[in-house]
Amino acid sequence: MQEAMISRAKQLLADGAVNRVIGWKKGEFAYDITPAIFESAEELDAEFVYDDFTSANVSKYLVKETKKDGKILAFLKPCDTYSFNQLVKEHRINRDNVYVIGIQSDGKLDAEKIKSKGISGILGVKRNGENLEIETLYGQETMPVAEAMSTKCLNCKSKKHVAYDELIGEDGEVTASDRFDMVEKLENMTAQERYDFWRNELSKCIRCNACRNVCPACTCEKCVFDNPASGIENKAPADSFEENMFHIIRAFHVAGRCTDCGECSRVCPQNIPIHLLNRKFIKDINSFYGEYQAGADTTSKAPLNDYKQDDCEASIVHERGVE
């Protein structure tokens, strides 16, 4: 993959079809990959990387990049193409200024998960079939790939590219995923249990805004939480209410727009399963208003900007299941 991507990128640069490339850059270790922009064949050869740890979704960078002159080549994984579409739909990305190459992804790894298994001093990580061969300061370690798989990939919703100018590797299908299982599990708890679960999670929040700033749906020119005029601006979770407030409003603002790319949970330094909030909205939207996948296209009306005269009443919430 990586070789094919580099050579194609070089070609497009050479042809003048694009003048920049957005992809990923090697780090100090096996896993600390950084999204980066490349402007020459030399840079590409030296630093471009596409491997098990290139999980960062680069589509959000295109909001800024496509406002610049010239054309940029973007490598997008299947899940990234949904974010991309959504941003095009919302006029945040200038489609004319980007050339998209859809790239196959077999799921990415999460170094945090390896470390959480007590494996420390990681120097190198290699896939070996179902297992990972991990070279550390303290000798060789192995663990099942599945256990190191990034949460967002564990219940991948689609291996299909919904937007691209060309493909490298295979295009997949929308996968029948079990991504709503955890949401259901929570729904089936009692209100008290749900409350305790979320208090425990959200009380960890340090309001670093990583979830918001990485989110491809959160591209507001100015976020209400940064805007003193909004009346709800705050810089830190000074009270449990503010922990709730931030996450409820954030999830609500991306409801019907969130493509479930899973970046929010991936980047959370406190490992809060933020995606379970967004997924709740997605699940509700599907069951109340019919299946809807944000980013699947660039034309459909977002569920919250749409209605049917016979939509269910809000009381449906009060009537259902566990109290």
């Binding site: 270790f29 300061l137 990583a210 810089k235 979770p237 490992n271």
Partner: protein, 339 residues
Amino acid sequence: MLKIALDKIDSLFSAVAEKQTLYIPADRADGASEYKKYENGMKMSSNLNTLRSAKDFFFPQTENLVDFKMEGKNIEVIDIREESEDFVVFGVRACDARSFTILDKVFLSDPVDSYYKNRRDHGTIVTMACSKPAETCFCGVFGIDATEPEGDASCWNDGESLFIKANNEKGQAFIDSVSSLLQDGDTAKLDETKAKTKEILSKLPLANLSTDSFGGDKLNELFRSEKWAELSESCLGCGTCTFVCPTCQCYDIKDFNTGNGIKRFRCWDSCMYSDFTKMAHGNPRLTQVERFRQRFMHKLVYFPANNNGEFGCVGCGRCLSKCPVSMNIVKVMKALEVK
């Protein structure tokens, strides 16, 4: 040196906890560890370091400074400061221990920050030497010896016993309070452990990172470096690095209108945020490039410039593993290094 068998360590903890609040690193469900208030039976985490640093005990993310009460058209000012109780933070690593030298320079130099001082006065820091450093560790780069941690008192673990030594009165007081549980022990095995650790420390991937290209005297060339634009390209402008950092000390002061009064509080701020140090005229650092540069210039140039060479980083490696896009001080140093 005084020691206590590892299997007796619970008795040590409960003895301390009887007299004052004790915090130890404990494991969390998600595999990370964080400081928790000690309760009987609680196990100390075997992780190298806690997710959030020990800074939080002395410089919490948010704290109330003063209250204002409003009756109709009158405003009354209420000082809500109160003497905090004694507490012990146990198991602080060498890097975090050093962070207090840095924080003290900021908060205890004139004008003294009474809120911070209050907690420093009542808090005892008991450190724990490292035996299993991670690839992200680079404390050595800043002259920190992970096997000889600072703090009020220091501890070592040789696999069988916990050795403990006081570094000042506060530390001595701590040891005295539990002396009945300690006995003298021979450090032969401990010295082996230290030696082993030292060897690993020398082999760490970041062991040879150099600070030669940084410091107060390099201000102009570093500030003007062309590399900042590219380095900051991927930065999301979130505050993760800042908030997990043991040495970041910037804060914002805000008023919260409760409806029946005002609470003036301070909370951590991040130089990565678009509204950092925003003033009436606007924001002095308009782009992420400038904000990104500010963070690293502060740690590598401005701070040493004002604190006779002391860098504003302790190499704990938290930002290396937590940055959403893995852009961090090490990459910055390597990029700006003049070979």
